[in-house]
């Protein structure tokens, strides 16, 4: 296990500073890149980054269309789904591209880095990794999606109540269990994939050299990095499609038949 700097580390409300900083950094990167993309928007002749962004919007739109009941709901969920997709993509990749860790000898108790903690983690303090490699943030996002889906479902209270006993009343317990397992798996899936990727990278990077000079783990690291890049991309997509699905499942508006274009 690695150590992280914490604010208010002695309270129940301790805040992982690395994760918080990474959520800010990820947001800023997404904001800046998107701003660059929309700087010279051209309706007739899209160029460069604009093409990529349009493709991403179209991609998200297709996800939303396949899970939301009607056009209005698609429009409603699109900004959230799009932002989450891009944000998670950047967040998942950040920890692959770079990991910064400090080896600290001297404890910093006000950041929660006490001598005890440093001894347990051999002084390794993570300063830069994926925010999604933190369970609290990933579960927090899943919780947000859960809250939004129920907020939307409660706009039609009768149908919201009825969906607990659908399709049959005996499904009630399963439906209730699902309300806990869905957000839990939603968040843990993201966290687990990204954390596992980074943990193994850390192990491979830190593996001792054979005979003191052969970096035997490098080819494995290379393969694992490629695989993790794939997983990072897929997980951003999976989280977004599930987000759309969970919100769509509780959007009880009248359904609309889409015409295939």
């Amino acid at each position: 296990m690695d150590a992280f700097p914490y604010l208010w580390s002695n309270t129940l409300f301790k805040v992982n500073l690395t994760t918080w900083a990474m959520t800010v950094l990820t947001g800023l990167i997404v904001l800046i890149v998107l701003r660059l993309g929309v700087r010279h928007l051209d309706m007739r002749h899209p160029r460069g980054l604009q093409n990529l962004l349009e493709w991403a919007v179209e991609f998200t739109n297709n996800i939303a269309k396949s899970t939301m009941p009607n056009e209005q709901a698609v429009r409603w969920v699109l900004p959230f789904a799009f932002t989450t997709l891009v944000y998670l993509f950047v967040a998942n990749w950040l920890g692959l591209v770079t990991t910064v860790a400090l080896h600290m000898q001297h404890p910093l108790p006000w950041l929660g880095l006490t001598a005890d903690v440093l001894a347990k983690t051999h002084g390794k303090v993570i300063l830069f990794d994926s925010p999604t490699a933190n369970m609290s943030f990933s579960l927090g996002l899943a919780l947000l999606v859960w809250l939004i889906s129920h907020g939307r479902g409660l706009r039609y209270p009768k149908m919201w109540l009825r969906h607990f006993v659908s399709p049959q009343p005996f499904m009630l317990p399963f439906n209730i269990i699902e309300e806990f397992t869905n957000p839990l798996t939603h968040g843990m899936r993201l966290y687990g994939n990204i954390f596992a990727g980074e943990a193994l990278i850390g192990v491979l990077v830190g593996a001792p050299l054979l005979w003191g000079w052969v970096p035997w783990s490098m080819p494995l690291l290379f393969v694992w990095l490629i695989y993790s890049a794939f997983v990072s991309t897929i997980q951003a997509y999976v989280f977004t499609i599930l987000l759309s699905l969970y919100i769509g499942n509780k959007s009880h508006e009248p359904h609309e038949v889409y015409h295939s274009h």
């Binding site: 129940l12 959520t23 309706m43 944000y87």
Partner: protein, 161 residues
């Protein structure tokens, strides 16, 4: 383990970032896409309208052409008919005129012949009477003379007619 502090703070940060991204980056993009969609739809419907309009105009032109063709044919037919009629009339008039002239000439000839005949008759009568008078100079009174003239005229009239 789940850290409530990290969860709440990072989630709030995410929401702030979401708002910034949505407001400054996604909205312009979505607006542009919407604008493009509207533009394309407008163009399509305008093109359809234009085509319908063109078809309508073409049909109108075709109708007009047909109509003018028909009118031209009618005019031509009417003109031809009138010309025929006129020619016919002219011929008829000419025939009538010639008939009239012929009849007049005939009447005139008849009249002159009658006049000439009458003149000759009168002279013959006169001569006859004079001759008779010469022959019977002393035996005929004026009354008998008149009676004989009358009888001669009557006889000659019978002869002529």
């Amino acid at each position: 383990m789940i850290e409530v502090g990290t969860l709440v703070i990072s989630l709030l940060t995410f929401l702030v970032m979401f708002w910034l991204i949505q407001h400054f980056a996604f909205k312009p993009l979505a607006n542009m896409l919407e604008q493009r969609r509207n533009h394309v739809e407008t163009q399509l419907s305008e093109a359809e309208e234009g085509r319908a309009e063109a078809e309508k105009l073409l049909a109108q032109q075709r109708d007009l052409l047909d109509q003018s063709r028909r009118e031209a044919r009618e005019l031509l037919d009417a003109a031809r008919m009138r010309a025929d009629e006129q020619a016919h009339q002219l011929v008829e008039e000419a025939q009538a005129e010639s008939q009239r002239i012929l009849a007049e000439a005939r009447t005139l000839i008849e009249q002159e012949r009658a006049e000439a005949l009458a003149g000759v008759m009168e002279q013959v009568t006169q001569l006859t009477v004079e001759l008779t008078t010469k022959l019977l100079r002393d035996h005929v009174s004026d009354a008998v003379h008149a009676e004989m003239l009358k009888e001669a005229e009557q006889r000659l009239g019978e002869l002529v007619c």
